[in-house]
Subunit: 169 residues, 6 copies
């Protein structure tokens, strides 16, 4: 009888990082339900296949104890349409740097033109995650750096394997 | 039995603009309750006294039909402590320009250090409000410009009166 | 006997948007003549061929009644040299976001080194066009969103066709 | 019979710098006439009185040979109204840094709401003037630094005198 | 016989924060000597008198074990002249946010015009100090917040005393 | 017996510009030794092969008289590890625009996580180099513009040759 307020958290998650998990944890405090929506065909070719990205998210949610509170789905097309089909009232975005901010602004205004019932809600990651991104993590992994402080353990293992490194012992 | 999720929307509101009202309307969609928290003693001397700022907000909420859903309070001290005393889980901020963004970031990180249970939630005003602020409205009013498209009618009347102008007929 | 002051408005126009048309309308108020200069070989591979980009611009100018006042040309090489060959004194640029601003600044300083007689003139689009770009429009069209509010009707038709969508009826 | 296209260049000019003169020179290439409009009562208390600011501009225009092509006026109220009374079609602004850009954007959008016939036109100063401002020049002069490379000679003399320094010989 | 390379670290230090100390520690790794230069008469009226700012810095250097490696001085006039009188080759600046960056850029270019032998060197504070500033710390202290994680213990004590608060027990 | 303080200056140098040389000259004033570290396999495919990039740097150092003071090396993997293997205490970066700043910030924080003994040191190029980059130079050269004011003579020759232009006589 009370209206359920739910949110979507869209992205490529190529792969999921601790910064994404931090945002998810906050979103769970604010909404009755949160759905991670993985873009099946992002404009830039992803490193990991859709089922690998899905698996890494599921494992990570399980690892941090968010598995009962967060759904994971994949989608194609416009996120505003997909959010609508789920009955979500909010679209969650993490906000990090100034250039992020501008791109986010542009997307938010366009999304509002496309669906005025869906509110874009920006959350801020922990300061130690402010400058963390999937790209920089892949870049460090590619050069053999230790990326375990930045991603869930399953992601670290797959990234190292993908680049032919073994986890330091 | 269902947890009530409430938010605070702090500011100086010197005076409230249509941009603030737009953010408030969105916040009402997202939370079970929203409290506008007017800073009694902001670091910069306000143009309007605290009771005038309070009255203009109350009139405006009534004018746009948000009066039953939004509380108005004044506060001194740290907003994180005041929010805590109200049991709020979120602090609402409107986000407009890059320079806003940096200041907001700094405040959000500091507020999180002070109270980690309170999430800062950024909402984006309508594009026509993106570059609207209390300062620019006062500046236009001071020079006799027509500020009625930017503020509630009661605010327009008081601003014009304060600067010795009469509303164009 | 009066000096004619003319301007060039260079770009890829892949495709032209309502934001471009808005800038063009303003440029026509400021100069005796304006030439849209389409880059034949931009560094990023365009979606539309040069003759399609040319046709969409011509149709759009006709549609908004600017066809008698704006020339359309294509060019290769440095825009400063092409502008010089046309006798233009100004290079028109639309200015939207902070990241635009920086790139524009870099180009303006370089163009000035290359031809100090040509002034770069920045105009600002209407606020509802501030966050509009060819890229975001293509992205929305690709996912089947309605892009008719953002582009001339001929562009909307071609974009939908290119992505295999039909205009909603 | 040909329409005269004129522009205003508003500011506090407290005092005029070589950066302002550089912008003026460019504006003279683009328009049939340019009027420097000095704000009599800017929101921040100026260092120089209005007649001193006027005199320094007149001397500087004479010094650089722009005196026949540029008018100087003072104004109160909204610049858009004053520009209208002069029949100007453009409002000239110099653009230097990102923070400038945001403030300018906000002003441009507000000015357009107030008078849609007046176009804001941004010009870019020479790169060596990019980070020059009246404030930084006053700050250097206050501490006894040599400000002659940054301002017209009459301004340098008055600034040094105001701060009790004598020009190095 | 080996050239001593020394640096100055100028500022208002009103008061010194853990962010300043972090920058100082890094500067000590890079140079043979570092001198903290406190501006006696900054353009904005400081909260603490010059001797209090000096004392808080000295105590803090002692507390973190940098007292043997860092000099503290006060200065008036241009920092480039004072640095020259000390034989310094570098001017140290901490860099935090985009708005900082622009102001710093402007100062660095002006300082280079004034003294081309002095290099401005930017260092980045720890991520947890990225958004820390003397102003925000004073603001929190004024409202009775706990500022002990952000400043040396002597500074915390004086700030709390100045605002009439006692340290929580 | 005095500790040698050395720095690395990493990059793709595709190709080296006068802006890079300006930064190098400043770094030589600040450190006992500087090593240019060319990334063998940057994430974006470079225009020039690694041995050509190496040769252009060596020629340029010779041309400006820095050849005795600067080493040139190539590296793969993480720059923090390579810097460590050379015993460097600092990583030199040139800082130009706001978008640079953000990327640099992200890299600096990540590099600090990876190796806390290496300090990232930002230097600012001459104002005329502020908006100079390898990309913009290649872009101008590609369109037949004169790039000789922006790069060492050997680089200009190779760039023109690569794009099938001959140096103007």
């Amino acid at each position: 009888m009370d209206k359920q307020r739910t949110a979507v958290y869209p992205g490529t998650f190529d792969p999921i990082t601790n910064g994404h998990l931090d945002i998810l944890r906050r979103a769970c405090d604010l909404f009755d339900g949160v759905t991670v929506c993985i873009a099946r065909n992002p404009s830039k070719e992803p490193m990991f296949r859709i089922d690998d990205r899905f698996a890494m998210i599921s494992e990570a949610l399980d690892e941090v104890g968010l598995d009962g509170r967060v759904q994971v789905e994949t989608f194609d097309g416009l996120i505003v349409d997909y959010a609508d089909s789920l009955g979500a009232i909010a679209l969650i975005r993490g906000l990090r740097a100034v250039s992020d901010f501008e791109f986010e602004f542009q997307m938010a205004l366009m999304n509002r033109h496309l669906n005025s019932r869906l509110h874009t809600v920006y959350l801020m990651p922990k300061d130690e995650h402010t400058y963390l991104s999937s790209s920089i993590v892949k870049n460090v992994a590619r050069h053999g750096g230790d990326i375990r402080p930045f991603v869930p353990s399953g992601v670290a293992r797959r990234l190292m394997a993908a680049y032919g490194h073994t986890l330091g012992e």
